[in-house]
């Protein structure tokens, strides 16, 4: 078929970008027929995210009846687009469905069973759309969910805000469609040139650009004629049309339809790396988007259908169809006689940048400009990759002026830093390098992989940085709290010490104890040091003991909680029961381990009695404390929950027995150790212990008082309980103080 080329008679000087290729166009197959209308499928699968940016928020529920054009998911944030029901029917479900994405993964979709009535909801039409206020127009576009229909599907309304103060120089309307096979924009320009021009006019009113350029490749002669006719007519009867649309015919070369490339061709200016066209005063919109904008503003019609090219040898007849968003591709394939075969591929988009999909019922979305089903003969599967010989053909073809082969070596060997240094992220993945590569290396996939890895790494780094900051902030806070507490404690301890000193002065004013006391303290220090050593030798037993204690206390707590729960929250009982059992098991394990360790370490002399003595002491204390708590609880229970009294009584008894046991053990051990040890030791141990006890008791009391004060402020109903606890603790502190004083005086006597 002879190709028609338009003569280049531009008033605008065109610039040729570096590289580019001239693949077989294969466009004539699908332009033989007019745009067909696809029949209504029985099911529509509408993805909530059909564009870059955030997924839309779903507004309907399963079972809802929806009308054609009804908003079913609202834009979430600035870069997000509304989604509408493409036809009337009932929402079957909102679930994950395979969507048109190279990963073949699923994403949330609204699945609608159509009722065949295709009943529209009410639309807000604007006869006088050219005189609408700007805000209103923008709202229309946003509510209609118009998104870029050429490539990534960027929400159009965002680009139509004259966001920065810079005057917009050029509004570029992209009708280039440089990818082979695809003709949806071509057919749209042929068929709806007038609507497209009106859409451009709306956008021009919003943006007030100095120039409006409609770019079209020189292989689209018919579209060119159609536009010229429409332009003549348009300018003839629209009085409001103060905008001149410049029609620029550009030479056919791939990828001149790429946004950055097209802007360079038309203006000679480069969009800075990492920037957007607006940075150089340009906004680029696709021709199909222009038409969608017109439909949205003039008729209030949301974007619920698009023109899609069905082409490739596996189709009996290639053509363009107007199909609803959400139409499963299998429906289109069936209707337009797709011939299945063993090595069939479905490419969404063109052969250069399209991606293959795995599942046939993937839905058509706002960006689906082409479904290409080539035969293996037409687009052969790539050969096995040969070695890269650095021929440099890729460098010559690269429109971004990169060094694709260097990027390939770096990507392959995971030298991502170097790849970034070679501007990997300026790669537009157009595929020109892989197209010319004589060694059939899947270059683009290498780059995509490398980009993905780098992005993932960046995310990781960001995340770990955040974690580090949070960790450090927390450390700081804990330290601050500890310091505050310490300061409080010190203040109290000082007060107590003063009190005690006064008492002591009164009690033992006659004797001058100082030198002796000093000697004793020195001995004490020595003792401590030696003990620390022996203790450290005993680590494993102690550790195990610690484990056991921990487990035991957890178990006890559990049991408590369980009992609580039994009383108050019957629904938690089962849960806790399970937890208790688990913990019981753990305690047993710990016990076994401890026993084993103890038998192993038993032969070690001296240390054992010492350790166990202390441990026993603490056991007694612990048991006592628990008992006290129990008794409290019991009393509580007596007052409030008579039905639990019995249970608690039992628990108290048990604990009493335990305390007795512990005391017994302690006494035994003490007796044994006093026999074993030289004299001074027996004397010093209790003092130390007592001191420790005192401190502990004091700390607890402090805490209690704190809590009490808190409670006074916040939880008056608990005050009584806390008050009681404080009192008890005060008594304890007192007891400990007395004991200590007694011990010390004994010591002095000795």
């Amino acid at each position: 078929m002879a190709k028609l080329r338009i003569a280049h008679n531009n008033s605008r000087t065109l610039h040729d970008f570096h590289g580019g290729i001239h693949p077989e166009e294969n466009k004539t197959q699908s332009t033989q027929l007019d745009i067909q209308k696809a029949s209504l499928p029985s099911t529509l699968i509408v993805p909530l995210q059909q564009h870059v940016g955030k997924s839309a928020k779903v507004l309907v529920n399963a079972g809802d009846r929806v009308l054609k054009g009804q908003l079913i998911a609202d834009a979430d944030g600035v870069i997000s687009a509304c989604v509408h029901a493409p036809s009337s029917g009932v929402v079957r479900e909102i679930s994950d469905q395979a969507i048109a994405h190279p990963s073949g993964l699923s994403a949330p979709c609204v699945v609608i069973d159509t009722d065949g009535e295709d009943q529209w909801c009410e639309l807000e039409a604007h006869e006088d759309y050219l005189n609408l206020e700007r805000e209103k127009v923008l709202k229309c576009i946003r509510r209609a969910g118009v998104a870029g229909m050429g490539g990534a599907g960027f929400p159009s309304e965002v680009k139509l805000h004259p966001a920065n103060q810079k005057k917009l120089k050029t509004l570029v309307i992209n009708g280039v469609e440089c990818e082979p096979y695809i003709t949806s924009d071509d057919m749209l320009m042929r068929t709806y040139a007038d609507e497209m021009l009106r859409g451009i006019e709306i956008m021009a009113r919003l943006l007030e650009p100095q120039h409006i350029v409609l770019a079209i490749e020189d292989n689209k002669a018919e579209a060119y004629t159609a536009i010229q006719e429409a332009l003549a007519e348009h300018q003839g009867h629209t009085s409001a049309s103060q905008y001149t649309i410049e029609l620029a015919v550009i030479p056919t070369k791939y990828p001149s339809g790429g946004e950055k490339q097209l802007i360079y061709i038309l203006t000679g200016e480069e969009v800075p790396s990492g920037g957007i066209p607006a940075d150089i005063g340009v906004v680029c919109q696709n021709v199909a988007t222009a038409r969608a904008v017109y439909r949205a503003v003039r008729y209030g019609e949301p974007l619920i259908s698009r023109i899609t090219t069905l082409t490739g040898d596996q189709f009996k007849k290639s053509c363009n169809v107007e199909s609803l968003i959400g139409t499963p591709m299998s429906h289109l394939l069936q209707e337009f006689q797709f011939q299945d075969s063993r090595d069939a591929r479905l490419i969404i988009g063109g052969p250069m940048m399209g991606y293959t999909i795995e599942q046939l019922d993937t839905p058509v979305v706002k960006t689906t400009n082409c479904i290409l089903a080539p035969s293996a003969k037409e687009l052969p599967f790539e050969d096995q990759a040969q070695a890269c010989i650095r021929c440099g053909l890729c460098t010559e073809a690269c429109p971004a002026e990169l060094l694709p082969q260097q990027l390939y070596w770096f990507s392959r060997s995971a030298e991502y830093e170097k790849a970034e240094q070679h501007n990997l992220f300026d790669c537009i993945e157009c595929g020109a390098c892989a197209y010319v590569c004589p060694s059939s290396i899947p270059l683009v996939q290498h780059y995509r992989h490398a980009k993905g890895e780098i992005k993932a790494k960046r995310l990781d780094t960001d995340k770990s940085e955040k974690a580090r900051i949070r960790f450090e902030a927390r450390q700081e806070r804990l330290e601050r709290e500890a310091q505050e507490k310490e300061a409080k404690r010190k203040a109290r301890a000082e007060a107590a010490a003063k009190l005690q000193a006064e008492k002591k002065a009164a009690a033992a004013n006659a004797e001058s104890v100082d030198p002796k006391k000093a000697a004793i303290e020195a001995a004490l220090a020595r003792k401590n040091a030696s003990k620390a050593e022996t203790v450290s030798a005993q680590v494993s037993v102690e550790e195990l003991q610690g484990n056991l204690d921990k487990a035991q206390s957890k178990l006890d707590k559990m049991i408590d909680a369980l009992e609580d729960a039994k009383a108050n929250a019957p629904d938690n009982v089962a849960k806790l029961q399970r937890a208790v059992e688990k913990n019981q098991l753990r305690v047993n394990q710990a016990k076994q381990a401890l026993e084993k360790a103890q038998t192993v370490s038993a032969p070690t002399p001296q240390a054992v009695p010492e350790v166990s003595l202390e441990t026993l002491q603490s056991n007694v204390d612990k048991a006592q404390a628990k008992l006290d708590k129990m008794i409290d609880t019991l009393e509580d229970a007596k007052a409030n929950a008579p039905e639990n009294v019995e249970k608690f009584q039992r628990a108290v008894d048990k604990n009493k027995a335990r305390v007795e046991q512990a005391k017994q053990a302690l006494n035994d051990a003490q007796a044994a150790s006093s026999e074993n040890k030289p004299e001074p030791k027996t004397e010093t141990v209790p003092v130390e212990v007592l001191e420790a006890n005192l401190e502990k008791a004091q700390a607890k009391l402090d805490k209690m008082i704190d809590t009490l004060e808190d409670a006074k402020a916040n939880a008056p109903e608990n005050i009584e309980k806390f008050q009681r606890a404080v009192d008890k603790n005060k008594v304890r502190v007192k007891a400990a103080q007395d004991a200590l004083a007694q011990a010390k005086s004994q010591e002095v006597e000795n």
Binding site: H101, S103, A107, Q384, R412, R448, E453, S464, F471
Partner: protein, 189 residues
């Protein structure tokens, strides 16, 4: 004799001069903090999990700068070990299995209907990523969770699960080409 004296004097004075210069330089060009520790800390994954035996990543970074092995960080895995080896110019070691195995990224998730509101996990979390108050249900802020596991143990009712992070389509990216002859070669075709 006088030669020896001269030599000694000269050498002494030289020593004094250079000593002074060195001393001055030590003060003038003193480096605040320990930059190596910062660099190491930057490479660690900041999960603050303590699997290395240190209470957080920074302490481990300090330990590494004092000569500790670089292979004790399971969340960082081989990649971190490699990066540390590059930074410190030492041989990369295989991950020390004693400290755990490299696992896929995880986050903690509280089974909320089982939570009794004990705040134990909140206290254990090194990055304050758990939200809640006493006797109220707690929840994990997934985006802040480092997957360190530290909240699992303290939970009295075992209601915290570690689940692998799945970002779905947003987290997907292209895999490296497999059809390449270079890879098929490996199996000695």
């Amino acid at each position: 004799m006088s030669i020896a004296v001269t030599a000694i004097i000269v050498l002494l004075s030289l020593a004094v001069v250079f000593g002074a210069i060195l001393g001055f330089a030590a003060i003038r060009f003193r480096v605040e903090g320990n930059p190596v520790v910062d660099q190491i800390d930057d490479l660690l994954p900041q999960t603050q999990c303590g699997q290395c035996g240190h209470p957080g990543c920074r302490p481990y970074a300090e330990a590494i700068s004092n000569g500790e092995d670089i292979n004790k960080c399971p969340p960082g895995g081989e990649a971190t070990i490699q990066a540390l080896a590059d930074l410190l110019d030492v041989e990369p070691l295989p991950l020390d299995a004693e400290h755990g195995e490299e696992k896929a990224k995880q986050v903690a998730v509280i089974r909320e209907d089982e939570c009794i509101g004990c705040t134990k996990c909140i206290q254990a979390c090194p990055v304050d990523a758990i939200l809640g108050a006493a006797k109220h249900m707690h929840t994990v802020i997934a985006s802040e969770c480092t997957g360190c596991d530290l909240c699992i143990e303290p939970c009295p009712v075992d209601c915290i699960d570690m689940v692998e992070v799945d970002n779905g389509i947003a987290g997907w990216h292209w895999s490296a080409p497999q059809s390449s002859i270079i890879t098929t070669d490996k199996g000695a075709a």
